[in-house]
Symmetry: C2
Subunit: 199 residues, 2 copies
Amino acid sequence: MSDFEPGRRQRKKQATRDDLMDHAARLFDERGFDAVTTTDIAEAADVSQRTFFRHFSSKEAVLYGHADVLRRRLLDEFANRPDQESVVDSVIAAVRAMGGYYETHHDETFLQARLAADFPAVAAYARAYVQNDWEHELTAAIAARMGIDPLADPRPEILASAAFAAYRAAVRRWSAGGGRAAFGELLDESLAALATFPG
Amino acid sequence: MSDFEPGRRQRKKQATRDDLMDHAARLFDERGFDAVTTTDIAEAADVSQRTFFRHFSSKEAVLYGHADVLRRRLLDEFANRPDQESVVDSVIAAVRAMGGYYETHHDETFLQARLAADFPAVAAYARAYVQNDWEHELTAAIAARMGIDPLADPRPEILASAAFAAYRAAVRRWSAGGGRAAFGELLDESLAALATFPG
DNA sequence: TTGACTTATGTCAGTGACTGACATAAACTC
DNA sequence: GAGTTTATGTCAGTCACTGACATAAGTCAA
Protein backbone atom coordinates (compact mmCIF):
# COMPACT_ATOMS: atom_id res chain seq x y z
CA MET A 1 0.00 0.00 0.00
CA SER A 2 3.06 2.25 0.15
CA ASP A 3 4.63 3.91 -2.87
CA PHE A 4 6.96 0.96 -3.28
CA GLU A 5 4.34 -1.76 -3.34
CA PRO A 6 1.27 -0.62 -5.20
CA GLY A 7 -0.15 -4.13 -5.25
CA ARG A 8 -1.66 -5.93 -8.21
CA ARG A 9 -5.04 -4.25 -7.85
CA GLN A 10 -3.54 -0.78 -7.95
CA ARG A 11 -1.29 -1.72 -10.83
CA LYS A 12 -4.18 -2.99 -12.90
CA LYS A 13 -6.20 0.11 -12.13
CA GLN A 14 -3.33 2.31 -13.20
CA ALA A 15 -2.85 0.23 -16.33
CA THR A 16 -6.50 0.69 -17.26
CA ARG A 17 -6.18 4.42 -16.73
CA ASP A 18 -3.03 4.59 -18.82
CA ASP A 19 -4.66 2.51 -21.54
CA LEU A 20 -7.61 4.87 -21.67
CA MET A 21 -5.33 7.89 -21.94
CA ASP A 22 -3.17 6.32 -24.63
CA HIS A 23 -6.05 5.20 -26.81
CA ALA A 24 -7.86 8.50 -26.31
CA ALA A 25 -4.79 10.43 -27.44
CA ARG A 26 -4.39 8.23 -30.49
CA LEU A 27 -8.04 8.51 -31.48
CA PHE A 28 -8.16 12.27 -30.90
CA ASP A 29 -5.03 12.62 -32.98
CA GLU A 30 -6.49 10.57 -35.82
CA ARG A 31 -10.03 11.93 -35.93
CA GLY A 32 -10.17 15.10 -33.88
CA PHE A 33 -11.94 15.62 -30.56
CA ASP A 34 -15.58 15.75 -31.63
CA ALA A 35 -15.46 12.69 -33.87
CA VAL A 36 -14.41 10.41 -31.02
CA THR A 37 -16.98 9.23 -28.49
CA THR A 38 -16.29 8.06 -24.96
CA THR A 39 -17.58 4.67 -26.07
CA ASP A 40 -14.96 4.62 -28.83
CA ILE A 41 -12.23 5.24 -26.28
CA ALA A 42 -13.58 2.65 -23.86
CA GLU A 43 -13.85 0.00 -26.55
CA ALA A 44 -10.36 0.74 -27.82
CA ALA A 45 -9.09 0.16 -24.29
CA ASP A 46 -11.36 -2.89 -24.00
CA VAL A 47 -13.37 -1.66 -21.05
CA SER A 48 -16.96 -0.51 -20.64
CA GLN A 49 -17.97 3.12 -21.07
CA ARG A 50 -18.94 3.10 -17.39
CA THR A 51 -15.36 2.29 -16.49
CA PHE A 52 -14.16 5.23 -18.56
CA PHE A 53 -16.24 7.55 -16.41
CA ARG A 54 -14.98 5.92 -13.25
CA HIS A 55 -11.46 7.00 -14.23
CA PHE A 56 -12.22 10.36 -15.84
CA SER A 57 -14.97 12.78 -15.01
CA SER A 58 -15.39 13.95 -18.59
CA LYS A 59 -14.29 13.33 -22.14
CA GLU A 60 -12.00 16.34 -21.88
CA ALA A 61 -10.39 15.11 -18.67
CA VAL A 62 -8.78 12.08 -20.28
CA LEU A 63 -6.75 14.42 -22.48
CA TYR A 64 -5.29 16.11 -19.41
CA GLY A 65 -4.75 13.00 -17.33
CA HIS A 66 -1.23 14.13 -16.42
CA ALA A 67 -2.26 17.55 -15.14
CA ASP A 68 -1.51 16.55 -11.56
CA VAL A 69 2.07 15.75 -12.52
CA LEU A 70 2.51 19.29 -13.78
CA ARG A 71 0.83 20.72 -10.73
CA ARG A 72 3.20 18.85 -8.48
CA ARG A 73 6.21 20.15 -10.41
CA LEU A 74 4.89 23.67 -10.13
CA LEU A 75 4.28 23.53 -6.40
CA ASP A 76 7.41 21.56 -5.54
CA GLU A 77 9.63 23.97 -7.39
CA PHE A 78 7.96 26.97 -5.79
CA ALA A 79 8.30 25.45 -2.33
CA ASN A 80 11.97 24.72 -2.90
CA ARG A 81 12.96 28.23 -3.95
CA PRO A 82 15.14 30.08 -1.45
CA ASP A 83 13.33 32.37 0.95
CA GLN A 84 15.43 35.38 0.09
CA GLU A 85 14.43 35.18 -3.56
CA SER A 86 11.72 37.60 -4.66
CA VAL A 87 8.28 36.08 -4.99
CA VAL A 88 8.09 36.99 -8.66
CA ASP A 89 11.34 35.19 -9.38
CA SER A 90 10.11 32.14 -7.49
CA VAL A 91 6.91 32.12 -9.52
CA ILE A 92 8.90 32.41 -12.73
CA ALA A 93 11.08 29.50 -11.69
CA ALA A 94 8.09 27.38 -10.73
CA VAL A 95 6.23 27.92 -13.99
CA ARG A 96 9.46 27.35 -15.86
CA ALA A 97 9.95 24.03 -14.09
CA MET A 98 6.44 23.00 -14.97
CA GLY A 99 7.10 23.92 -18.59
CA GLY A 100 9.90 21.39 -18.68
CA TYR A 101 7.20 18.78 -19.10
CA TYR A 102 6.67 20.01 -22.66
CA GLU A 103 10.21 19.08 -23.60
CA THR A 104 9.97 15.52 -22.34
CA HIS A 105 6.39 14.95 -23.50
CA HIS A 106 6.35 16.73 -26.82
CA ASP A 107 3.68 14.73 -28.64
CA GLU A 108 1.26 14.65 -25.73
CA THR A 109 1.48 18.37 -25.05
CA PHE A 110 1.41 19.36 -28.69
CA LEU A 111 -1.73 17.31 -29.19
CA GLN A 112 -3.32 19.16 -26.28
CA ALA A 113 -2.35 22.49 -27.80
CA ARG A 114 -3.60 21.52 -31.24
CA LEU A 115 -6.94 20.24 -29.96
CA ALA A 116 -7.38 23.30 -27.75
CA ALA A 117 -6.86 25.49 -30.80
CA ASP A 118 -9.35 23.50 -32.91
CA PHE A 119 -12.06 22.61 -30.41
CA PRO A 120 -13.54 25.26 -28.10
CA ALA A 121 -14.67 22.65 -25.58
CA VAL A 122 -11.08 21.52 -25.11
CA ALA A 123 -9.80 25.06 -24.69
CA ALA A 124 -12.60 25.77 -22.23
CA TYR A 125 -11.74 22.73 -20.16
CA ALA A 126 -8.05 23.56 -20.11
CA ARG A 127 -8.76 27.09 -19.02
CA ALA A 128 -11.60 26.50 -16.56
CA TYR A 129 -10.39 23.32 -14.92
CA VAL A 130 -6.73 22.57 -15.52
CA GLN A 131 -5.20 26.05 -15.49
CA ASN A 132 -7.70 27.29 -12.96
CA ASP A 133 -6.64 24.55 -10.58
CA TRP A 134 -2.95 25.32 -11.06
CA GLU A 135 -3.60 29.00 -10.62
CA HIS A 136 -5.59 28.45 -7.46
CA GLU A 137 -2.91 26.28 -5.91
CA LEU A 138 -0.16 28.68 -6.88
CA THR A 139 -2.17 31.55 -5.44
CA ALA A 140 -2.42 29.75 -2.13
CA ALA A 141 1.32 29.03 -2.11
CA ILE A 142 2.18 32.63 -2.92
CA ALA A 143 -0.11 33.89 -0.18
CA ALA A 144 1.46 31.51 2.33
CA ARG A 145 4.91 32.66 1.31
CA MET A 146 3.88 36.31 1.66
CA GLY A 147 2.13 35.59 4.91
CA ILE A 148 -1.17 37.10 3.80
CA ASP A 149 -4.76 35.99 3.29
CA PRO A 150 -5.49 35.33 -0.41
CA LEU A 151 -9.17 36.05 0.16
CA ALA A 152 -8.48 39.53 1.47
CA ASP A 153 -5.45 40.53 -0.60
CA PRO A 154 -5.69 40.23 -4.40
CA ARG A 155 -1.95 40.31 -5.05
CA PRO A 156 -1.28 36.55 -4.94
CA GLU A 157 -4.10 35.88 -7.38
CA ILE A 158 -2.95 38.68 -9.67
CA LEU A 159 0.59 37.36 -9.73
CA ALA A 160 -0.47 33.77 -10.34
CA SER A 161 -2.86 34.85 -13.05
CA ALA A 162 -0.22 36.96 -14.76
CA ALA A 163 2.20 34.04 -14.67
CA PHE A 164 -0.27 31.74 -16.39
CA ALA A 165 -1.05 34.41 -18.94
CA ALA A 166 2.64 34.33 -19.82
CA TYR A 167 2.45 30.55 -19.93
CA ARG A 168 -0.52 30.64 -22.30
CA ALA A 169 1.24 33.12 -24.54
CA ALA A 170 4.20 30.77 -24.77
CA VAL A 171 1.98 27.80 -25.55
CA ARG A 172 0.24 29.78 -28.26
CA ARG A 173 3.46 30.79 -29.93
CA TRP A 174 4.80 27.26 -29.64
CA SER A 175 1.63 25.78 -31.08
CA ALA A 176 1.47 28.32 -33.91
CA GLY A 177 5.02 27.34 -34.86
CA GLY A 178 4.04 23.70 -35.18
CA GLY A 179 5.73 22.73 -31.93
CA ARG A 180 9.14 22.96 -33.56
CA ALA A 181 10.57 25.72 -31.39
CA ALA A 182 12.09 24.95 -28.01
CA PHE A 183 9.22 25.52 -25.63
CA GLY A 184 11.50 26.38 -22.74
CA GLU A 185 12.96 29.32 -24.59
CA LEU A 186 9.56 30.68 -25.55
CA LEU A 187 8.44 30.31 -21.97
CA ASP A 188 11.53 32.11 -20.71
CA GLU A 189 10.82 34.99 -23.04
CA SER A 190 7.21 35.22 -21.91
CA LEU A 191 8.02 34.99 -18.24
CA ALA A 192 10.65 37.71 -18.56
CA ALA A 193 7.80 40.15 -19.15
CA LEU A 194 6.57 39.37 -15.65
CA ALA A 195 9.67 40.75 -14.00
CA THR A 196 9.37 44.03 -15.88
CA PHE A 197 5.59 44.34 -15.56
CA PRO A 198 3.87 46.47 -16.54
CA GLY A 199 6.83 47.63 -18.66
CA MET B 1 -33.75 48.02 -39.45
CA SER B 2 -31.77 50.85 -37.88
CA ASP B 3 -31.31 51.28 -34.16
CA PHE B 4 -34.35 53.51 -34.06
CA GLU B 5 -36.79 51.16 -35.77
CA PRO B 6 -36.18 47.58 -34.69
CA GLY B 7 -39.42 46.45 -36.31
CA ARG B 8 -42.01 44.20 -34.80
CA ARG B 9 -40.11 41.02 -35.66
CA GLN B 10 -36.96 42.18 -33.94
CA ARG B 11 -38.92 43.41 -30.95
CA LYS B 12 -40.66 40.08 -30.52
CA LYS B 13 -37.39 38.22 -30.84
CA GLN B 14 -35.81 40.41 -28.21
CA ALA B 15 -38.84 39.95 -25.98
CA THR B 16 -38.52 36.18 -26.26
CA ARG B 17 -34.85 36.40 -25.37
CA ASP B 18 -35.57 38.65 -22.40
CA ASP B 19 -38.33 36.34 -21.25
CA LEU B 20 -36.00 33.37 -21.35
CA MET B 21 -33.37 35.23 -19.34
CA ASP B 22 -35.87 36.45 -16.76
CA HIS B 23 -37.49 33.09 -16.20
CA ALA B 24 -34.13 31.34 -16.15
CA ALA B 25 -32.86 33.72 -13.47
CA ARG B 26 -35.97 33.21 -11.39
CA LEU B 27 -35.85 29.42 -11.67
CA PHE B 28 -32.11 29.26 -10.95
CA ASP B 29 -32.65 31.48 -7.95
CA GLU B 30 -35.44 29.29 -6.64
CA ARG B 31 -34.01 25.83 -7.29
CA GLY B 32 -30.31 26.18 -8.08
CA PHE B 33 -28.65 25.59 -11.42
CA ASP B 34 -28.68 21.80 -11.67
CA ALA B 35 -32.31 21.37 -10.68
CA VAL B 36 -33.56 23.46 -13.60
CA THR B 37 -33.68 21.97 -17.09
CA THR B 38 -33.64 23.89 -20.35
CA THR B 39 -37.13 22.53 -20.92
CA ASP B 40 -38.24 24.08 -17.63
CA ILE B 41 -36.95 27.46 -18.75
CA ALA B 42 -38.49 27.17 -22.19
CA GLU B 43 -41.88 26.18 -20.80
CA ALA B 44 -41.78 29.00 -18.25
CA ALA B 45 -41.22 31.40 -21.12
CA ASP B 46 -43.88 29.57 -23.14
CA VAL B 47 -41.62 28.60 -26.03
CA SER B 48 -40.21 25.29 -27.22
CA GLN B 49 -36.89 23.97 -25.99
CA ARG B 50 -35.61 24.29 -29.53
CA THR B 51 -36.27 28.01 -29.39
CA PHE B 52 -34.27 28.24 -26.19
CA PHE B 53 -31.24 26.86 -28.01
CA ARG B 54 -31.78 29.21 -30.92
CA HIS B 55 -31.29 32.11 -28.51
CA PHE B 56 -28.63 30.64 -26.21
CA SER B 57 -25.91 28.18 -27.08
CA SER B 58 -26.00 26.48 -23.67
CA LYS B 59 -27.85 26.36 -20.39
CA GLU B 60 -25.05 28.41 -18.84
CA ALA B 61 -25.22 31.08 -21.53
CA VAL B 62 -28.69 32.26 -20.57
CA LEU B 63 -27.33 33.26 -17.18
CA TYR B 64 -24.78 35.56 -18.82
CA GLY B 65 -27.04 36.97 -21.49
CA HIS B 66 -25.88 40.51 -20.74
CA ALA B 67 -22.17 39.75 -21.07
CA ASP B 68 -21.95 41.70 -24.30
CA VAL B 69 -23.22 44.80 -22.52
CA LEU B 70 -20.33 44.56 -20.07
CA ARG B 71 -17.87 43.88 -22.86
CA ARG B 72 -19.01 47.00 -24.66
CA ARG B 73 -18.58 49.10 -21.52
CA LEU B 74 -15.11 47.71 -21.03
CA LEU B 75 -13.96 48.40 -24.57
CA ASP B 76 -15.69 51.76 -24.94
CA GLU B 77 -14.16 53.07 -21.75
CA PHE B 78 -10.71 51.83 -22.73
CA ALA B 79 -11.00 53.40 -26.17
CA ASN B 80 -12.06 56.72 -24.66
CA ARG B 81 -9.17 57.05 -22.24
CA PRO B 82 -6.71 59.83 -23.09
CA ASP B 83 -3.66 58.78 -25.05
CA GLN B 84 -1.22 60.28 -22.59
CA GLU B 85 -2.58 58.10 -19.77
CA SER B 86 -0.53 55.04 -18.90
CA VAL B 87 -1.90 51.79 -20.28
CA VAL B 88 -2.25 50.33 -16.80
CA ASP B 89 -4.37 53.26 -15.68
CA SER B 90 -6.52 52.94 -18.78
CA VAL B 91 -7.07 49.26 -18.07
CA ILE B 92 -7.98 50.03 -14.48
CA ALA B 93 -10.48 52.62 -15.63
CA ALA B 94 -11.97 50.28 -18.20
CA VAL B 95 -12.49 47.40 -15.76
CA ARG B 96 -13.81 49.85 -13.22
CA ALA B 97 -16.36 51.13 -15.73
CA MET B 98 -17.44 47.58 -16.47
CA GLY B 99 -17.83 46.93 -12.76
CA GLY B 100 -20.39 49.72 -12.58
CA TYR B 101 -22.84 47.21 -13.99
CA TYR B 102 -22.85 45.44 -10.63
CA GLU B 103 -24.24 48.51 -8.92
CA THR B 104 -27.14 48.97 -11.29
CA HIS B 105 -27.89 45.25 -11.66
CA HIS B 106 -27.34 43.96 -8.17
CA ASP B 107 -29.67 40.98 -8.14
CA GLU B 108 -28.64 39.70 -11.53
CA THR B 109 -24.92 39.86 -10.83
CA PHE B 110 -25.22 38.52 -7.30
CA LEU B 111 -27.15 35.54 -8.61
CA GLN B 112 -24.34 34.91 -11.09
CA ALA B 113 -21.77 35.08 -8.30
CA ARG B 114 -23.78 32.81 -6.04
CA LEU B 115 -24.37 30.19 -8.71
CA ALA B 116 -20.72 30.30 -9.78
CA ALA B 117 -19.72 29.62 -6.19
CA ASP B 118 -22.15 26.71 -5.84
CA PHE B 119 -22.01 25.04 -9.26
CA PRO B 120 -18.67 24.27 -10.90
CA ALA B 121 -20.21 24.23 -14.36
CA VAL B 122 -21.32 27.84 -13.94
CA ALA B 123 -17.90 28.94 -12.71
CA ALA B 124 -16.27 27.09 -15.59
CA TYR B 125 -18.48 28.80 -18.14
CA ALA B 126 -17.88 32.22 -16.64
CA ARG B 127 -14.16 31.68 -16.67
CA ALA B 128 -13.72 29.89 -19.99
CA TYR B 129 -16.24 31.78 -22.08
CA VAL B 130 -17.34 35.07 -20.56
CA GLN B 131 -14.14 36.28 -18.93
CA ASN B 132 -11.99 34.69 -21.58
CA ASP B 133 -13.82 36.65 -24.23
CA TRP B 134 -13.45 39.92 -22.31
CA GLU B 135 -9.80 39.21 -21.68
CA HIS B 136 -9.16 38.43 -25.32
CA GLU B 137 -10.83 41.63 -26.52
CA LEU B 138 -9.04 43.72 -23.93
CA THR B 139 -5.75 42.11 -24.91
CA ALA B 140 -6.33 43.13 -28.52
CA ALA B 141 -7.21 46.67 -27.50
CA ILE B 142 -4.11 46.97 -25.30
CA ALA B 143 -1.89 45.66 -28.07
CA ALA B 144 -3.37 48.13 -30.54
CA ARG B 145 -2.81 50.96 -28.10
CA MET B 146 0.79 49.85 -27.55
CA GLY B 147 1.30 49.34 -31.25
CA ILE B 148 2.53 45.78 -30.87
CA ASP B 149 1.51 42.30 -31.99
CA PRO B 150 -0.32 40.43 -29.19
CA LEU B 151 0.75 37.12 -30.70
CA ALA B 152 4.43 37.98 -30.45
CA ASP B 153 4.50 40.04 -27.28
CA PRO B 154 2.96 38.58 -24.12
CA ARG B 155 2.61 41.88 -22.26
CA PRO B 156 -0.93 42.79 -23.37
CA GLU B 157 -2.22 39.37 -22.40
CA ILE B 158 -0.43 39.50 -19.07
CA LEU B 159 -1.88 42.89 -18.27
CA ALA B 160 -5.40 41.94 -19.28
CA SER B 161 -5.17 38.71 -17.34
CA ALA B 162 -3.89 40.48 -14.24
CA ALA B 163 -6.74 42.97 -14.49
CA PHE B 164 -9.35 40.23 -14.56
CA ALA B 165 -7.66 38.46 -11.69
CA ALA B 166 -8.22 41.63 -9.69
CA TYR B 167 -11.80 41.68 -10.93
CA ARG B 168 -12.36 38.09 -9.81
CA ALA B 169 -10.87 38.83 -6.41
CA ALA B 170 -13.31 41.70 -6.01
CA VAL B 171 -16.25 39.55 -7.05
CA ARG B 172 -15.22 36.87 -4.60
CA ARG B 173 -14.98 39.28 -1.70
CA TRP B 174 -18.29 40.87 -2.69
CA SER B 175 -19.99 37.50 -2.98
CA ALA B 176 -18.55 36.24 0.30
CA GLY B 177 -19.96 39.32 1.99
CA GLY B 178 -23.44 38.54 0.75
CA GLY B 179 -23.36 41.28 -1.86
CA ARG B 180 -23.89 43.91 0.79
CA ALA B 181 -20.63 45.80 0.28
CA ALA B 182 -20.30 48.42 -2.44
CA PHE B 183 -18.82 46.47 -5.31
CA GLY B 184 -17.16 49.54 -6.80
CA GLU B 185 -15.09 50.09 -3.70
CA LEU B 186 -13.95 46.49 -3.54
CA LEU B 187 -13.04 46.65 -7.20
CA ASP B 188 -11.09 49.87 -6.67
CA GLU B 189 -9.12 48.22 -3.90
CA SER B 190 -8.34 45.19 -6.03
CA LEU B 191 -7.36 47.19 -9.06
CA ALA B 192 -5.06 49.37 -6.98
CA ALA B 193 -2.82 46.34 -6.61
CA LEU B 194 -2.29 46.39 -10.37
CA ALA B 195 -0.61 49.77 -10.34
CA THR B 196 1.86 48.66 -7.69
CA PHE B 197 2.48 45.19 -9.14
CA PRO B 198 4.25 43.09 -8.13
CA GLY B 199 4.51 45.06 -4.89
C1' DT C 1 -54.06 45.12 -51.29
C1' DT C 2 -51.66 41.45 -53.05
C1' DG C 3 -47.97 38.44 -53.71
C1' DA C 4 -43.15 37.06 -52.98
C1' DC C 5 -39.60 36.71 -49.49
C1' DT C 6 -37.51 36.31 -45.15
C1' DT C 7 -37.27 34.50 -40.61
C1' DA C 8 -38.58 33.13 -35.82
C1' DT C 9 -40.68 29.35 -34.08
C1' DG C 10 -42.71 24.44 -33.42
C1' DT C 11 -42.36 19.57 -33.98
C1' DC C 12 -39.86 15.45 -34.23
C1' DA C 13 -36.31 12.32 -34.04
C1' DG C 14 -31.78 11.56 -32.92
C1' DT C 15 -26.91 11.56 -30.69
C1' DG C 16 -23.97 11.31 -26.97
C1' DA C 17 -22.15 12.74 -22.36
C1' DC C 18 -22.86 11.38 -17.90
C1' DT C 19 -25.06 8.87 -13.62
C1' DG C 20 -27.29 5.65 -10.23
C1' DA C 21 -28.17 0.87 -8.94
C1' DC C 22 -27.05 -3.68 -8.71
C1' DA C 23 -24.21 -7.87 -9.57
C1' DT C 24 -19.72 -10.19 -9.94
C1' DA C 25 -15.12 -11.57 -9.81
C1' DA C 26 -10.68 -10.46 -8.59
C1' DA C 27 -7.60 -8.79 -5.08
C1' DC C 28 -6.60 -8.10 -0.41
C1' DT C 29 -6.61 -9.28 4.71
C1' DC C 30 -6.48 -12.09 8.58
C1' DG D 1 -9.60 -20.63 3.54
C1' DA D 2 -13.17 -17.25 5.01
C1' DG D 3 -14.53 -12.57 5.00
C1' DT D 4 -13.97 -7.95 3.16
C1' DT D 5 -12.85 -4.50 -0.17
C1' DT D 6 -13.02 -2.72 -4.75
C1' DA D 7 -12.60 -2.34 -9.85
C1' DT D 8 -15.44 -3.51 -13.35
C1' DG D 9 -19.69 -4.90 -16.29
C1' DT D 10 -24.48 -4.41 -17.30
C1' DC D 11 -28.57 -1.90 -17.63
C1' DA D 12 -31.64 1.74 -17.65
C1' DG D 13 -32.24 6.39 -17.39
C1' DT D 14 -31.78 11.76 -17.70
C1' DC D 15 -30.74 15.70 -20.16
C1' DA D 16 -28.01 19.00 -23.02
C1' DC D 17 -27.81 19.88 -27.63
C1' DT D 18 -28.61 19.41 -32.96
C1' DG D 19 -30.37 18.65 -37.81
C1' DA D 20 -34.41 18.57 -40.82
C1' DC D 21 -38.68 20.00 -42.17
C1' DA D 22 -43.08 22.59 -41.78
C1' DT D 23 -45.62 26.80 -40.64
C1' DA D 24 -47.07 31.24 -39.62
C1' DA D 25 -45.94 35.84 -38.86
C1' DG D 26 -43.37 39.82 -40.38
C1' DT D 27 -41.40 42.46 -44.24
C1' DC D 28 -41.23 44.61 -48.61
C1' DA D 29 -42.25 45.77 -53.27
C1' DA D 30 -45.49 46.20 -57.14
